[in-house]
């Protein structure tokens, strides 16, 4: 389970940016035109903040703690940062946030992370190994199952892209894609498109009409072959596959000087 982060950033040639910066910038670009984003603290916060300051001034981040319209004076360190509550537009109760906002279908984009993702965007955040005798116990669903089942679409950010994280079969399916959900329970209605966009250290996958995650772009210095090698399923490559346009100077300036000058997330 060695990370390939180094491989992607090490080449001395171009990257005058870190993987974190790249992931934040690319995520931000895919947020264009979206209004309400359900996301935790970390890279998604940076992506939404960048979108607010560039292409999407009206975009709004909704936190699972119930905070909406937060205006923290500095980047929150954790979801439990008191500065997220002070000066926010609203703090909803938990039944309202999960029941009415999330299940009610008000979220355009949910951001999720995972230890493992499969070809159709099902996610594992529960265990490596069997559930009742795991090799590694992971945190579990938290709100991920609800975010997957109720957002109009889901973005996944994967720092590590390798065959143990992009897998043919999940050790445990915590948050199923709508396709998997309908297969398991055809009578239970699903909502939204599931994972439409995966932003990894190597490139970007977008879902096709069948919900399969296909390689849409590769980052600078990465080859399609490299992506195939590091992915546990036979990768479908879009005809339109491109090289991800690198972060612009303005994007990097906003991230570094305006949004995260203390390098809370921009490691």
């Amino acid at each position: 389970m060695t990370s390939v982060i180094e491989k992607a950033t090490a080449p001395a040639s171009s990257p005058a940016y870190t993987v974190s910066e790249l992931l934040a910038v690319v995520s931000c670009r895919y947020l264009q035109g979206k209004r309400r984003v359900f996301a935790g603290i970390g890279l998604p916060t940076l992506a939404v903040a960048l979108a607010q300051k560039s292409t999407s001034p009206d975009i709004e981040q909704v936190y699972e703690s119930g905070v909406c319209g937060a205006h923290p004076p500095k980047l929150p360190e954790t979801i439990a940062d008191a500065s997220l509550a002070t000066g926010a537009e609203t703090i909803l109760t938990m039944p309202v946030l999960f029941g009415y906002v999330l299940q009610g279908g008000w979220i355009d984009v949910g951001f999720l992370g995972a230890a493992q993702i499969d070809r159709f965007g099902s996610l594992n955040t529960s265990v490596i190994g069997p559930w009742d005798a795991p090799t590694v116990r992971l945190p579990g669903s938290g709100g991920a199952i609800e975010v997957m089942a109720n957002s109009q679409e889901v973005f996944v950010v994967m720092r590590r892209h390798n065959t143990t994280s992009f897998v043919r079969e999940l050790d445990f399916c915590t948050s199923p894609s709508p396709i998997a959900a309908r297969r398991a329970d055809p009578k239970v209605p699903t909502r939204g498109a599931g994972v439409t966009t995966v932003i990894s250290e190597l490139g970007v996958f977008t879902s096709d009409a069948e919900g399969e995650l296909c390689l849409a772009s590769i980052h600078e210095g990465v080859t399609v072959e490299q992506v195939r090698e590091q992915t546990g399923w036979p990768v479908k490559v879009l005809d339109s596959v491109t090289v991800t346009p690198p972060p612009t100077e303005e994007e990097l300036r906003l991230l570094r000087d305006d949004i995260d000058p203390g390098r809370v997330y921009l490691r």
């Binding site: 938990m94 709100g143 199952i145 089942a149």
Partner: protein, 302 residues
Amino acid sequence: MFSLQNAIGTFVSDGDVVALEGFTHLIPFAAGHEIIRQRVKGLTLVRMTPDIIADQMVAAGCVDTMVFAFTGNSSVGSLYAVRRAIESNGTGGLKLEEYSHYGLLARYQAGAAGIPFMPVRSYAGSDLVGINPQLRKVASPYEEDVETYVVPALNPDVAIIHAQRADRHGNVQSWGILGPQQEVAFASKRTILLVEEIVDDDIIRSDPNRTLIPGFVVDAVVECKYGAHPSFAQGYYDRDNDFYRSWSAISKDPQRLQAWIQEWIHETGGHEGYLTKLGEDFFHRLTPTPHLSSPVNYGSVL
């Protein structure tokens, strides 16, 4: 009005189903420590987000079963006592009942509302269904061929919650992130309330919409300043992020962890001793500058 010792001694017994709630905010650490101090055993710990307090209670041997949705120490590390009690190469023995956030919250809602179950809009296709037999399906009686997952009502023996303020009758006011405290208090057979301060009736009654839990639901009111440390109480003290970051190193080493519990929980003798050990000026750096709400006018007929 109870002392913390007396409240836990009176209302928490071996083998109880105990819900300690607070979502990142207002986590009842002082109450968890007192449970450890009183060496309560065999608890079913219900908590949406078992974090450091769960790690401590599991390490101290208080917990047989954990009912939860997300277990971890935010992004700053692992809960090694919990992991050792679960993972195949650990000592094992901790029973788990696993949900997602809304699944467990909906169990509290159904428990509070006296209904047998609550429908939720999730779980189809999740492997949680295979390992948690409480996640079941019901056919909608309104549409052909439509089913919904449901979760059963949960009525813990005891709810333990922390809030900013209450009057002596237990009318609770809280602000900032609210978590599932209102639901779990109504759902539970008994409720222990810890607050930063007991205030005059007039303060509470000047803003009745801020009262989230009426006094009749509360069995014990405990004044317990800084009782949510190392978590936070909005407006009173900020989160002690240094402590959260330090926890992995403590938790990873079973001996060091036991020594920590001995030193910071047993030897302090109580929450007062814990505060004394932190030191007089400890909370200075965590105290926010005031930022007051604008008042609203309720109007008066007088």
